[in-house]
């Protein structure tokens, strides 16, 4: 729920500084968190260039932030040790954007019950609520899945939960730290009046008959058809996996009905890039020939918008058959364009064709590699399950492997291993500042609704092991012998990662496992440039010409000098040990002696005035008492006469 008050809002593009104190891994994680804001909201971030207010991200003690824009100039937000998780960064920045925790909503007691005697002594105030005069829930229901919700064990004094959800299904849902929930985004976008985002371009699951504005080409031999199932496969779409009767569609190119070399072309609507780099992702099912292929083109329009050029970007061949495959295609388009999907009949027998579904296009970086784990449920049901990925190469040439540990009772672990590779002789050892980002993909058809789980680690070339070796040294030097499934021997370094990647319960939720498939997205990139200081803005200095123009309009007296400050000419006046000139044109003189004289005479004047007031008061009071005394004496005399 948000803090009420327009003054607490940041501009849509928030200036930031990543301070030198931050760990290098944290810097990379923070930049990844910014990308999530750019994809799903209208909030953007830019390096500070001198704006009045900005967020300074520091490595303080712990993870914390202020709520809202406090207009203090440099506003700190701390990502300390162990806070370098993407959802933690997203959480703290949501505070900065003006959000309190979800369970502090005014209506929270309708949805959760706080167990007060299980809360640590002195921490009860952390469970206060805000009235609806102070906080606004933006007309959105209570959100158990919010990234801003406490977990059930928050501030517990023992082992029992401090927060119990009134709907028991959400008992272990609260406290998720994977990504923004749908309602988090709804509230943020309402608070900041977002109508679009910087990075999102298009998403299509083919559920509507207009097929997202995609058009069939006329220069091909066949058409793509919108269908819900194909006898030779797939028997359902990828979006719904056949769970919704009467819905669930995808596009299919029937290669069995055309000759070898025949094509079917499907083009997207016209798209307008903002950032100049894009990631296209989609699912493909092959039920045709082994040599059927899917070609991806870009039709880019020139400035006059009449002519276009068609460029082949990717040929997808040898598509495995039998289940949906996920593909990523990197694009670098700067002018308005269409994405073109061309299905091409290959040689060999075909009983079906190519199907595509769940297309997403965004101006983000594609992952470098995808680890597709088939028949995943057999692994989570078997004890002591440990999975190793195929070997991959990073963009710098380092060979690596990912290790997924499913053997623990509650949590799933994930680790990054350097392994011996073909380029090792040419590489720098120990491996310096390569950040490995491992993402468990939430396979929601719409990229904006995915709550993927992500962790990052960075290789530190100075890190040593107990026996004095460098942790990230060459695998042939410090690694252990291991075998690939085909029996090939290689060296594997010690793994570096976390035993708490995700809980088994969350892994089975949402669409992490879809069609018995799991996808782990991998990116390993050089972040050594983040070791250097972020360039600080230089205050803008007026040019010589502009100084002369402004100073020609003012004449300083008594040897005063004209200077320009904040685009305004002003006189800097002469001053000595006990004297000075002042005034707009240095026309007045002041001195310490004058100050003493003024102070002394003021004191004397006040004293004299108070003395006069005192004397007058005494005189008047005396007079009053004299009158009273004489009237009392007469009364006594009269009384005496009366008695006698």
């Amino acid at each position: 729920n948000s803090i009420i008050g327009e003054n607490y809002r940041w501009p849509h593009t928030i200036p930031y500084v990543l301070e030198d104190s931050l760990e290098i891994n944290a810097k990379g994680v923070i930049l990844n968190a910014f990308e999530r804001y750019r994809l799903k909201t209208c909030i953007d971030f830019k390096p500070w260039t001198g704006e009045a207010n900005y967020i300074s991200v520091i490595k303080g003690s712990g993870c914390w932030s202020s709520v809202g824009n406090r207009h203090v100039g440099r506003q700190e937000l701390s990502i300390g040790a162990n806070c370098d998780r993407i959802a933690t960064v997203q959480h703290e920045f949501l505070h900065a954007l003006g959000f309190w925790h979800e369970q502090s909503r005014s209506d929270r007691d309708d949805y959760v019950s706080i167990v007060w005697d299980r809360i640590q002594s002195g921490r009860e105030h952390n469970f206060n609520t805000y009235s609806d005069q102070l906080s606004d829930s933006l007309n959105v229901p209570y959100d158990y899945t919010s990234v801003m919700h406490y977990s059930k064990t928050a501030f517990q004094n023992g082992t029992e939960p401090t927060i119990v959800t009134r709907i028991s299904d959400f008992e272990d849902v609260i406290g998720q730290r994977m990504d923004f929930s749908d309602y988090d985004l709804l509230k943020l976008n309402r608070l900041y009046n977002c109508s679009s985002s910087l990075s999102f371009m298009d998403s299509c699951n083919f559920e509507l008959e207009n097929v997202c504005g995609m058009i069939q080409s006329s220069g091909d031999s066949a058409d793509w058809q919108r269908v819900s199932q194909i006898p030779s496969g797939p028997d359902s779409d990828h979006s719904n996996m056949g769970q919704c009767e009467g819905s669930g569609f995808f596009m299919h190119f029937n290669s069995s009905s055309v000759n070898v070399g025949a094509t079917a072309v499907l083009e997207s609507r016209v798209l307008y890039p903002k950032r100049g780099f894009q990631c296209l992702q989609f699912y493909v099912y092959n039920s045709g020939s082994e040599s059927d292929q899917l070609n991806i083109y870009i039709r880019e329009y020139s400035a006059d918008s009449v002519n276009s050029s068609l460029t082949l970007v990717e040929e997808i061949k040898g598509i495995p058959s039998g289940n949906w495959q996920l593909y990523y295609v990197t694009l670098k388009v700067t002018n308005k364009f269409r994405v073109v999907f061309e299905g091409r009949r290959g040689s060999g027998a075909s009983l079906g064709g190519l199907s595509i579904d769940d297309i997403n296009l965004s101006e983000t970086q594609c992952p470098h590699h995808v680890w597709h784990i088939r028949n995943f449920t057999q692994f989570i049901e078997s004890p002591n399950a440990t999975l190793y990925s195929p070997p991959f190469y990073s963009s710098k040439g380092y060979a690596f492997q990912i290790h997924l540990d499913l053997s623990q009772l509650t949590n799933v672990g994930i680790y990054f291993h350097l392994i011996s590779g073909a380029n090792d002789d040419q590489l720098q050892w120990p491996c310096p500042w390569q950040q490995a980002t491992m993402t468990l993909l939430d396979q929601n058809p719409d990229i904006r609704q995915r709550m993927s789980n992500q962790r990052s680690i960075t290789t530190d070339p100075f890190m040593t092991t107990d026996n004095g070796n460098y942790f990230w040294d060459r695998p042939s030097k410090v690694g252990e012998v291991a075998l690939f499934p085909n029996g090939t021997e290689f060296r594997r370094n010690r793994g570096y990662g976390t035993s708490a990647f995700i809980t088994h319960e969350r892994l089975k939720s949402r669409d992490f496992i879809k069609g018995n498939d799991v996808f782990i997205l991998l990116t390993v990139e050089d972040i050594s440039h983040l070791n250097s200081t972020q360039v600080q803005p230089i205050p803008s200095m007026p040019t010589t010409a502009s100084v002369e123009d402004l100073c020609s309009q003012i004449r300083c007296e008594n040897d005063g000098i004209c200077a320009v400050r904040d685009d305004k000419a002003e006189c800097r006046c002469q001053a000595g040990e006990d004297w000075w000139y002042m005034g707009e044109r240095c026309e007045k003189r002041g001195s310490t002696r004058d100050t003493i004289v003024i102070a002394a005479s003021s004191t004397a004047a006040v004293f004299a005035a108070m003395l006069i007031v005192t004397l007058v008061s005494v005189y008047c009071t005396k007079k009053k008492y004299r009158k009273r005394t004489s009237s009392k004496t007469e009364a006594v005399t009269l009384e005496n006469k009366n008695v006698y």
Binding site: S61, W64, S66, N82, G175, H403, Y496, T498
Partner: protein, 41 residues
């Protein structure tokens, strides 16, 4: 490879933001909110 051939950066414990701050002895408002002077007063 040996079972313990990994370095676990979380030390076997899944700690949330508030656990991290509590372990550091911080007593921030609602666990992770820093108040400015006006709010404290």
């Amino acid at each position: 490879t040996p079972d313990n051939f990994v370095k676990d950066i979380d030390g076997g414990i899944d700690r949330d933001i508030f656990d991290i701050n509590e372990d550091l002895g911080l007593d921030l408002f609602e666990g992770d909110i820093r108040l400015d002077g006006v709010q404290v007063r």
